[in-house]
Amino acid sequence: MGQWTQKTLTRKNWMAFTGLFLCFFLIIHLLGNLQLLLPDEQAHLQFNAYSHLLSGNIIIKIISWVLYASIIAHVVYAVIIMLTNKRAGDVKYHYDRRGEVSKWYTRNMGLLGTIIFIFLVIHFRDFWYVYKFGSLPLDARGNKDLYTLVVAVYSETWYVLVYVLCMVALCYHLLHGFFSAARTLGVYHPRYVQWIRVIGWIYSVGICAGFALIPIYVHFLK
């Protein structure tokens, strides 16, 4: 078992697999959430019906368990990797300017990840927990009225501000994470490495701009 979990390279593989699954999830999540941008009457019933559809489907249920497991594994492996790295270089330089030869966000994936994790806790508490375990009023079609909750939460200026800042952190995390995952899994051909750089940029900026747009749009126009 150790060879699949305890080698530096296999640990990074788990980070890559779970990270890429989370990347895939973000696409689906964003596409679903884009319904919030529809005209008010249509968005209201359609978004609630969509949420209801997701919570009842067995396939979606299985995927959601993989999602929870991925988040936990990604965090746990990040901590294990960080602790190993600390042991590997426990003596610091008195004068350290190594940062000049690499990008800041590639060196601070842990910090960016922590911001995203805190965001996730808030995000789960405000929407996921309330939807699953809270008592939400029903809409005209008898579905739980998540839409009204979302609009209410996004009417808070500070919440929208924090949300957008977290999306900036997510963007930088994805920017390095997507590319780094491909490298960890062994994409070494220069041509495909170039493609992955470009796809990673488009993906990261697209996802984060999309997610940031929703609360801003709801805040100012609903």
């Binding site: 008195h94 004068y95 190594r98 030869v101 690499s102 994936m109 070494y188």
Partner: protein
């Protein structure tokens, strides 16, 4: 020129060590960095003090022996340059220059700026070779190898094992060093035979020596005197994953 120096002094591997201040006048800007240290050592010896120990050998930028942290950068402020190929003209008049040994748990300091890099040797011993019966030199063209392949293998083989990649890495990872040797050998027909066991043994040894994970920051490539490409790390990952999946 006149310079101030802050240099790491440590009697032996048990000593805690500390930064010590020195001043040096009449430094010629065209001196190499190591010649400047020689000049300082001559003065220290004349004063009856212990000379500062540092590794060096060819002083032509090809042996990989020299290597110290200069002003917080591996091999000093220039990219892709060994310490011996750095000259004092890269510094300002009156500048304070910090000189520290390369730091990593796998590279314990032996004395002053001298570190123990035998961890690299053990990684090579774990599989950085091909198993053949030696004898008379074989006919060079008996195994045809395309020119681009030979060039690519040679680019990887150019690693001089100086350890700058580990020193500059925030995780003290030896991924660039280990992957360069793995790529060098796997590209060639003689090396491809033992590719699977080589990559597994060398990665295992790299881990056992206490090097960290690769975070793909690519700082190693920027500081590497031989400009070893980080794509070798991807190649190592590929070979390792393949070996893990296909091993019998």
């Amino acid at each position: 020129m006149h310079i101030r120096l802050k240099i790491w002094r440590q009697e032996n591997s048990q000593d805690t060590g500390k930064m010590q201040d020195y001043e040096l006048a009449d430094v010629n800007p065209d001196m190499s960095f190591l010649e400047m240290l020689d000049m300082l050592n001559e003065q220290l010896l004349e004063q009856g003090q212990r000379a500062i120990e540092f590794d060096h050998d060819c002083r032509e930028g090809i042996c990989g022996q020299c290597g110290v942290m200069i002003n917080g950068r591996a091999h000093g402020p220039l990219k892709n340059t060994t310490t011996c190929q750095l000259h004092m003209r890269s510094f300002r008049e009156g500048e304070t220059i910090y000189i520290e040994p390369f730091r990593a748990t796998a590279f314990p300091v032996k004395c002053d700026l001298k570190i123990d890099r035998t961890a690299f040797d053990r990684v090579i011993q774990a599989g950085g070779y091909i198993s053949v019966n030696t004898g008379q030199a074989p006919e060079a063209n008996s195994i045809p190898i395309g020119h681009p392949v030979a060039e690519a293998a040679f680019d990887a083989a150019a690693c001089i094992g100086c350890g700058a990649c580990v020193a500059v890495c925030k995780n003290s990872s030896a991924a660039l060093f280990t992957s360069a040797k793995i790529t060098h050998l796997v590209l060639l027909p003689q090396g491809a035979v033992e590719a699977q066991q080589r990559v597994r043994h060398m990665v295992d040894q790299m881990d056992a020596e206490g090097f960290g994970h690769c975070s793909n920051t690519e700082a190693c490539e920027a500081e590497c005197p031989q400009q070893i490409s980080v794509l070798h790390i991807a190649r190592m990952n590929w070979e390792y994953n393949k070996a893990q999946l296909l091993k019998k």
